[in-house]
């Protein structure tokens, strides 16, 4: 059958972004860990527990817990700046 209608694609391709990971430390010994809490119930409890394991089993020397404004947005500049200035590694996560 002859093709008679030309129809158009409704989708969009997201803009490509180059992601650049910070270099990973070879050990956590003596490092300070930033913990980014996402405001959901128990997320602070979970992160502090992870932090405690890192201290007890991996030699982490300190923790800095900071709270995002809410779970649906990226961490704001203020806490990113603080963690960048003070911490060697960071743990962030979203979960229900």
């Amino acid at each position: 059958m002859d093709k008679q209608i030309r129809v158009f694609d409704p989708t969009t391709t997201p803009k490509e972004q180059a992601l650049c990971y910070a270099p990973r430390p070879t050990t956590l010994q003596g490092k300070k860990v930033g913990l980014v809490e996402n405001t959901k119930y128990n997320s602070d409890t979970l992160l502090l527990k992870i932090g405690k394991i890192l201290q007890e089993e991996y030699g982490v020397q300190g923790m800095l817990l900071r709270r995002k404004r809410n779970a649906g947005v990226p961490a704001h500049e203020e806490i990113i700046g603080e963690i960048k200035a003070e911490c060697d590694v960071v743990i962030a996560g979203v979960g229900d």
């Binding site: 059958m1 002859d2 093709k3 008679q4 209608i5 030309r6 129809v7 158009f8 694609d9 409704p10 989708t11 969009t12 997201p14 803009k15 972004q17 119930y41 128990n42 404004r69 809410n70 779970a71 649906g72 947005v73 990226p74 229900d96």
Partner: protein, 347 residues
């Protein structure tokens, strides 16, 4: 206008039936058949809003997606919109791209919200956007297709696919379409867009990340306080309860007239609902809505359902007869997503 070439990839098909099946096969529909978007129908959409295909309508930060007029037009055709609906769809897309709406949260959350849309101003009547009988039901092309167009744009242009970026646990039927107008002709109160600083003759769309409508029945009271006592009692445990989202309150014909005949303004309605929807911390803890053991002071410590009375968006709409009104809890909390009103620009 709209003279630049369309940039989207195109495909040849034999006829409308083949086109409909082709869009199903591609995963480009909401489950209902689409209207095949041809160059002529896409250009008619663009011309109706005086837009060039490449013009950016919204940029969705989390997705790094630029939603162009061309993609809005293609999806509006697919949804079944008339070209004259296009300015409304464009304004709604601008609104969901506003940082105050916070697209990513309500679009991706397990909480499962839809984009509720309220159209105010003369265009609502010109386009026959239903504000009366069967308010949230089927039967009006504008209500059915404007809301559907926005959902198709979310799906196709922004990639908000169920089970992937849209992780709604339940969702609700408003995700097909959720578009109404305010009954400005019969309302005793200023319409929502005027409350938000627009002039009555301006046109505006308000978007709101919304759960499903809850119907509230009161056929006994003939006072404002009586009707709203029932409303408040139904509302006070609803939605996410502790998140303090905004709420839409839809007051339909009989209740609207009862409340207005007592001389109550929209501000009075909001204040009354604010004062009568508090919950004790003890109750919230006992019912597992807040963590922790119940402390003695929790019995008398009250938490409001919303942060301020202005977080109730009061809309006069619905059928003239009947003893029902409705409330719609917002998604999450106001700190995560707020209702946003944008002007609809006439071409």
């Amino acid at each position: 206008m709209g003279s630049a070439n369309l940039q989207s990839k195109s495909y040849e098909v034999s006829d409308t039936s083949e086109a409909i099946e082709f869009y199903y096969d591609k995963g480009w529909t909401d489950g209902l058949p689409i209207v095949p978007p041809t160059e002529a129908s896409i250009r008619a959409m663009l011309d109706a809003a005086k837009l060039e295909p490449g013009q950016e309508i919204a940029f969705i930060e989390n997705r790094q997606v630029s939603v162009t007029a061309e993609k809005v037009a293609i999806n509006a055709v697919m949804a079944g919109c008339k070209p004259e609906y296009m300015p409304v769809v464009v304004a709604a897309v601008e609104a969901i791209g506003d940082p105050r709406y916070g697209y990513h949260g309500p679009a991706a959350s397990t909480g499962g919200s839809a984009v509720f849309m309220l159209v105010n101003g003369p265009m609502a009547r010109e386009l026959d956007i239903n504000c009366g009988d069967n308010l949230f039901g089927p039967g009006w092309r504008a209500n059915a297709t404007i809301g559907r167009a926005v959902r198709l744009i979310m799906r196709n242009a922004i990639g908000t696919l169920p089970g992937k970026l849209d992780r709604s646990t339940l969702g609700h039927p408003g995700k097909y379409t959720y578009c109404i107008a305010e009954n400005e002709a019969e309302s005793p109160w200023p319409p929502v867009h005027v409350e938000r600083g627009f002039r009555p003759e301006q046109n505006a769309v308000t978007v709101f990340a919304a759960l499903a409508p809850h119907q509230v029945s009161n056929q006994l009271s003939n006072t404002a306080a009586g009707v709203l006592t029932t409303m408040a009692d139904s509302m006070h445990i609803s939605g996410s309860v502790t998140g303090q989202p905004q709420y839409v309150v839809v007051l339909a014909g009989e209740h609207m007239r009862t409340i207005a005949s007592d001389g109550w303004s929209k501000a009075d309605v909001k204040q009354f609902l604010f004062e009568h929807t508090h919950n004790s911390i003890a109750h919230l803890k006992r019912t597992n809505r807040m963590p922790g053991a119940v402390l003695p002071e929790d019995e008398t410590t009250m938490r409001p359902l919303v942060q301020t009375p202005e977080d109730f968006i009061v809309i006069a709409a619905g059928g003239r007869a009947g003893v029902a009104s409705a409330f719609i809890p917002g998604w999450g909390g106001r700190s995560s997503s707020q209702s946003v009103t944008k002007e609809i620009r006439r071409p």
